[in-house]
């Protein structure tokens, strides 16, 4: 009986760890998606501004310590490309997040079942509190 409970404990432990790991992963993904979203918004703003500027205005790009002059068209295309890239990234990220959340919920169910079991094993006469 004791061995069984020990075994059970170990099982429970592993499951709990798995759950924690999944949660952490989820958090990371979430923050990542957050940053992506902000970047997207930023680029959207830049795009709007560039659309308003004259075609012969002086546009610069900061690359490291250097400010490099660019044409407006170049700038526009670059920004658009970046926006598309970020969108794709965001989508991919959200898919991953979805799957991870599913795993998390599944894990949670397992854990709760184990918990029930543990409670039963602890005291079959005692009802759920």
């Amino acid at each position: 009986m004791a061995a069984k409970s020990e075994e059970f404990q170990k099982k429970f432990q592993t499951e709990a760890e798995k759950y924690a790991g999944l949660n952490k992963k989820l958090n990371k993904l979430v923050t990542q998606s957050q940053t992506l979203e902000t970047q997207l918004n930023e680029n959207q703003m830049v795009k709007d501004e560039l659309d308003i500027t004259r075609d012969d205005a002086r546009v610069f790009k900061l690359v490291g310590p250097v400010m490099v002059p660019q044409t407006v068209d170049d700038a526009k295309t670059n920004v658009n490309r970046r926006i598309d890239f970020i969108k794709a990234e965001l989508k991919r990220n959200s898919d991953v997040v979805e799957s991870v959340t599913k795993d998390v919920t599944a894990q949670r169910d397992i854990l709760s079942a184990l918990e029930m079991q543990a409670r039963q094993m602890a005291g079959p006469g005692v009802g759920p509190s």
Binding site: N27, V46, E49, L50, A57, R58, V59, V79, V97, T101
Partner: protein
């Protein structure tokens, strides 16, 4: 905690100014005086509006699961937390907005002078007198390391855009705040309820066995209920059929009466009047029972109708005692009035008798009154109202029933179209036939069948199976049952060349009496000629 919950972060950008010609030193305007700072890095401020991991849990759809003080308290605490974050965000936004406003004023005033004398900071501790030149050239940071050099006016525009964006964020923050407040209030209310009244939580434990047992019982009771319903329905139907049987038998009597009357009338050889177009239609009557006339009628006289449709007399006439008040339905935009002589007030009138009689011949209309307690009483429905429609060229008659006398003359004067054939008489032939010289369309009557004769007084059609389709369509108000084929009259009667009904023989008195005389003068129809040809020609008709 899903990404979808976040409100997006916004970065607000700063304007980078190029104030003099030394390329290394760029003066930035974070939120400070532009003349002071010397760092090259754009100091972007990240506005974190989204409540990321600390977003308050919205109330679950529907009621709270556990209505007890503790959980409610925690919920309220969470709400308060989120409210505080919301307020800090709002403050930050306000501050930023204010700074943009001051920047705007700076941008407007800066280019007013070509250059300004200023103390320029050199490093961290030194200042040096200098000048601010190129006052109209502003390098603006658009975001993501993109810069654009523009005039101060343009820079002002950019600032305006950013301010509007900030305002939007402010708005969304406000809405969020409202929402959270509402949730909080709701939770507080719940809290008060639970604490104050000591409400008892209703718990229904789910027990498999119990549920199963209940389900079986439920099924049984439902089954029983349905059976009961079925039984009741059957009973009702039986009752109804009983009642219906009574009524049908009553209808049969009435039919017999009519037949009797018709028979007697025929023997008396009264004038045949064209049957006017009736606007009232009823379902065709049932098949006849064996005629037993008077005795039946007397027997059944006691049946319920409050105003009896028929009462027996030594005379063969059927009288009704009801007075019919006709109320003309007001047509929209027109006044529809019925000529009084078409309204049958008292059927005992000779004048109106024929109409009524012909109507009664064909239709016995008895309205059934299904009362609440299940009994059925029958009473005559509205006496047939003969409505004469006058066209615009004719004068309308007042709808007042009492003025019957005055209006009859007018009606007689006016031309009344009482059958389709009269239309041609009154209004002339149809435009098609009048205008074009085309021959009238070929008759649709089968060559084998003798032409139909409209005869009101006659009984069932004699020479013809009633089930065969008649050339007269049902849409006409001419009852098929009254159509007979008068074999004797066939060869002699000549069809009038009416464009609409090509082979109707309207049995005016003249045709019946003066067959042979009038034959020579009138033209013979093509149909008739074809019929009189050898029978090979007439074979092709389908039966």
């Amino acid at each position: 905690m899903s990404p979808g919950k976040f409100l997006h972060l916004k970065k607000c950008f700063y304007v980078l100014w190029k104030t003099w010609d030394l390329p290394l030193i760029k003066i930035i305007h974070p939120f400070t005086n532009p003349l002071i700072s010397s760092n090259y890095i754009s100091a972007g401020c990240w506005l974190g509006i989204g409540m990321t991991s600390s977003s308050p849990p919205p109330p679950p759809a529907g009621i709270l699961y556990r209505v007890d003080g503790e959980s409610l308290n925690t919920l309220i605490e969470k709400y308060e937390q989120s409210l505080s974050t919301n307020s800090t965000e709002q403050e930050r936004l306000d501050k930023l907005r204010q700074e943009y406003v001051t920047l705007k004023t700076r941008l407007t005033t800066l280019p007013l002078q070509l250059d300004y004398n200023a103390l320029v900071p050199l490093g961290r501790r030194a200042l040096c007198p200098g000048k601010i030149i190129h006052t109209n050239e502003i390098m603006c940071l658009l975001g993501d390391n993109w810069f654009v050099e523009c005039s101060s006016a343009k820079a002002i525009e950019i600032v305006n855009h950013r301010v509007t964006k900030l305002d939007e964020q402010h708005e969304s923050l406000r809405k969020e705040r409202e929402l959270i407040n509402n949730w909080k209030q709701e939770a507080e209310r719940q809290l008060v309820e639970t604490i104050g009244e000591g409400t008892v939580e209703i718990r229904e434990d789910y027990d498999e066995q119990h549920e199963r047992h209940w389900r079986e019982q439920h099924r049984e009771s439902v089954r029983r209920y349905h059976q009961q319903q079925a039984k009741r329905r059957v009973e009702a139907r039986q009752e109804k059929s009983q009642v219906e049987d009574e009524l049908w038998s009553r209808l049969d009597e009435l039919e017999l009466q009519e037949d009797l009357v018709a028979y007697l009338e025929e023997e008396q050889e009264e004038e045949i009047v064209e049957k006017p177009v009736t606007a009232v239609r009823h379902a065709p009557k049932e098949s006849n029972a064996a005629p037993t006339f008077k005795k039946d009628i007397e027997d059944k006289h006691n049946t319920p109708p409050p105003t009896s449709l028929s009462s027996t007399k030594t005379e063969t006439r059927i009288e009704t005692t009801t007075e019919v008040k006709v109320k003309a339905p007001p047509a929209r935009g027109k006044r529809v009035k019925f000529s009084a002589d078409n309204i049958i007030h008292d059927i005992s009138d000779d004048q109106n008798y024929e109409k009524q009689e012909s109507y009664n011949q064909e239709r016995s209309s008895v309205a059934l009154n299904f009362t609440d307690d299940g009994t059925v009483s029958s009473y005559p429905c509205f006496d047939p109202i003969f409505i004469r429609f006058h066209h615009s060229a004719l004068t309308y008659v007042d709808g007042d029933e009492n003025d019957a006398s005055g209006t009859e003359e007018e009606d007689q004067k006016s031309q009344i179209v009482s059958s389709p054939g009269d239309i041609v008489k009154v209004f002339g032939p149809t435009s098609i036939s009048a205008i074009s010289n085309k021959p009238l369309p070929k008759s649709i009557l089968k060559p084998y069948a003798p032409p139909l004769v409209l005869d009101k007084r006659s009984k069932k059609p004699q020479g013809r199976d009633t089930k065969k389709p008649s050339p007269i369509s049902e849409d006409d108000d001419i009852d098929i049952d009254s159509i007979t084929i008068n074999e004797s009259a066939v060869s002699k009667v000549v069809t009038e060349r009416v464009p609409i009904f090509t082979n109707l023989q309207l049995n005016t008195p003249s045709t019946l009496n003066n067959d042979s005389e009038t034959n020579a003068s009138k033209p013979v129809s093509l149909f008739k000629m074809r019929r009189q040809q050898p029978p090979e020609v007439a074979v092709s008709s389908p039966d």
